[in-house]
């Protein structure tokens, strides 16, 4: 835990010092909201009973979390390729704490971005709940989802020989995870086989629960199931990361 906090705070120090990363990370979500909101919003007024902006925002949150997780894997890969990882490996700290520190800074950044998305989204007319439980649910669900995907990214980052190789592999996951979900189309309107794929994708559970709890819509999956799936996804993601990490440092 101590090492996790140390590594987390180191990443945050570096993050606030790196103007490029900071700027990109703040601008990117604004860009997504505006693009989706202005572009698509003009074509589609209403989806499944809610306004387009409120319908889209959970998907934008998921997309941003995916991007954040890729960045988290990148941070590990960078430290690994530079050899900085050796400092941690020679220290009396659990191997898992290294991955947890990385996931923690990834989640922190994702929550920064989520805040921006919500503010910009609200300004552009999204209906965001006033119920604080809806906000807590958002933080928990988004954190679990980010940890899960960060785990997958870390698992790749622990093995990749180069930055190019890492991005190639991650790309196979990133966009399909978003498109094969309910981010762009409501679950109820999907043809059966697409729906089956979407239901195998943790992104769907995040988005569905967020629509129901935070954006004033109705969830089509029972909430306990969505919470269970995202939490399980987080645990499996970190387990995969740890397994992959242990294999490389033999």
């Amino acid at each position: 835990m101590n090492a996790t906090i140390t590594i987390w705070s180191k990443h945050m120090t570096k993050f606030f010092r790196n103007r490029e990363e900071l700027g990109g990370l703040l601008l990117q979500p604004i860009l997504w909201v505006v693009l989706f909101g202005v572009g698509m919003g003009a074509l589609v007024r209403n989806v499944d009973g809610s306004d387009y902006m409120s319908f889209m925002l959970p998907g934008v949150l998921a997309l941003t979390a995916l991007g954040g997780a890729v960045g988290g894997g990148m941070a590990l890969l960078d430290e690994r390729l530079r050899g900085i990882l050796k400092e941690y490996l020679a220290a009396p700290i659990p191997r898992l704490s290294i991955l947890m520190g990385n996931a923690a800074s990834t989640v922190t950044k994702a929550l920064f971005q989520a805040t921006i998305i919500l503010v910009v989204g609200a300004l552009m007319g999204a209906h965001i709940t006033g119920n604080p439980l809806g906000w807590v649910a958002l933080v928990v669900l988004l954190a679990m989802f980010t940890i899960g995907f960060a785990g997958i990214a870390l698992a790749f980052a622990a093995r990749s020989k180069s930055i190019m190789g890492y991005h190639g592999l991650i790309f196979l996951f990133n966009l399909p995870l978003l498109f094969a979900s309910n981010a762009l189309y409501p679950l109820v309107n999907m043809p059966g086989w697409i729906k089956a794929i979407a239901l195998a994708n943790p992104t769907t559970y995040l988005i569905d629960a967020l629509r129901g709890l935070t954006f004033g819509g109705t969830a089509s999956i029972a909430l306990p199931i969505s919470f269970a799936v995202t939490t399980l996804f987080a645990a499996l993601g970190m387990a995969l990361a740890l397994w992959s990490f242990r294999r490389t440092i033999r």
Binding site: N18, E87, A91, P92, I93
Partner: protein, 317 residues
């Protein structure tokens, strides 16, 4: 703050590491008593870094065993990690942190309380003379400054055993001499045990109590630098001049104390049992046989010659 210990602080038995079909280490036995400096000397690819990686718990041996400060590196890695300091062959520093942050984060990983970290940083910054630079970003440091910062980091947690993998690689002579001074001082004043690797024989000669020569994953010789050189036994006398050296050559070969005579373009190199004792006799035999002596020098063997003797190859950079 001396923790002089005459116990064995680093030991390996039959240490072996395979990378696929490559045998990086092939049955290495080492023993390093407490409070001494041991230098592993060998060319690139000899297995030096592999040895350091296993001893610092970054890699696991394929066979054999190793103990550091009395703890097994495979079965008790955390006990080993608590007691060691390391500098790796490549500079491994975060360029976007200040020197002070690098040291502070390191101390926090080892659960040092804030007051202790502050005190250690003050001491170490003075030791490695980074006072002016310590609050600057590491990316503004020169190579020598980075090495000194890494050395300070390795010492941050008051380790019992310090591993330095090629500590002066790529440094200019002045920075190299500075690092040598630190290393000697650490052993003298703190009684630290140091295991360093190098491919510079001068470095091994200047620093080590014991040198282990390693080549192709095997330890081929070991001893104090002077004992290793003395074991070669012979010196060489180099005679240069002008004229016909062929008579001189056969005359010298007949002398009982001469082991070998090798011609070179300006004269002869004569292998003898002791250079200083035989120089007069060798020069005396050079008069009146068609060769005029212009210069004579005695060449003492170095660790480089020791290396050549045991491996049949010269130690290259």
């Amino acid at each position: 703050m001396t923790n002089i210990s005459t116990h064995t602080m680093v030991a390996t038995q039959g240490l072996t590491k395979q990378y696929g079909s490559v045998s990086a280490l092939d049955g290495v036995d080492l023993t390093v008593p407490g409070g001494t400096i041991y230098a592993l000397l060998g060319p690139n690819g000899a297995g030096k870094t592999t040895t350091i990686n296993i001893l610092t718990t970054l890699a696991q041996p394929s066979a054999g065993s190793a103990q550091v400060a009395g703890f097994d590196v495979v079965r008790q890695p955390d006990e080993v990690r608590k007691r060691i300091g390391v500098t790796f062959q490549d500079l491994v520093l975060d360029p976007d942190l200040t020197g002070r942050q690098v040291l502070d984060i390191h101390g926090r990983l080892y659960r040092q309380p804030t007051s202790l970290r502050r005190q250690r940083i003050d001491e170490l910054v003075a030791l490695v003379q980074l006072n002016d630079a310590i609050d600057r970003l590491v990316k503004t440091y020169s190579g020598g400054m980075k090495r000194r910062l890494e050395l300070a980091r390795g010492l941050m947690t008051d380790p019992q055993v310090v591993f330095l993998d090629e500590p002066t690689q790529g440094l200019d002579p002045q920075n190299r001499a500075t690092i040598w001074d630190y290393v000697r001082m650490l052993r003298r004043e703190r009684g630290l045990t140091l295991l360093l690797t190098t491919h510079y024989m001068e470095e091994a000669e200047a620093l080590a109590d014991t040198v282990g020569i390693i080549d192709g994953g095997r330890k081929v010789a070991e001893g104090t630098p002077s004992a290793l050189v003395a074991a070669l036994g012979a010196d060489r006398i180099r005679i240069s001049g002008s004229g016909d050296a062929s008579h001189l050559l056969s005359e010298l070969r007949a002398l009982p104390f001469v082991d070998s005579v090798t011609p070179f373009e300006r004269g002869l190199e004569v292998g003898v049992d002791s250079g200083s004792r035989r120089i007069a006799e060798v020069v005396a035999s050079a008069s009146g046989n068609g060769f005029t002596v212009e210069d004579v020098s005695v060449l003492r063997p170095s660790l480089g010659d020791v290396f050549l003797q045991y491996t049949g190859r010269a130690l290259r950079d």
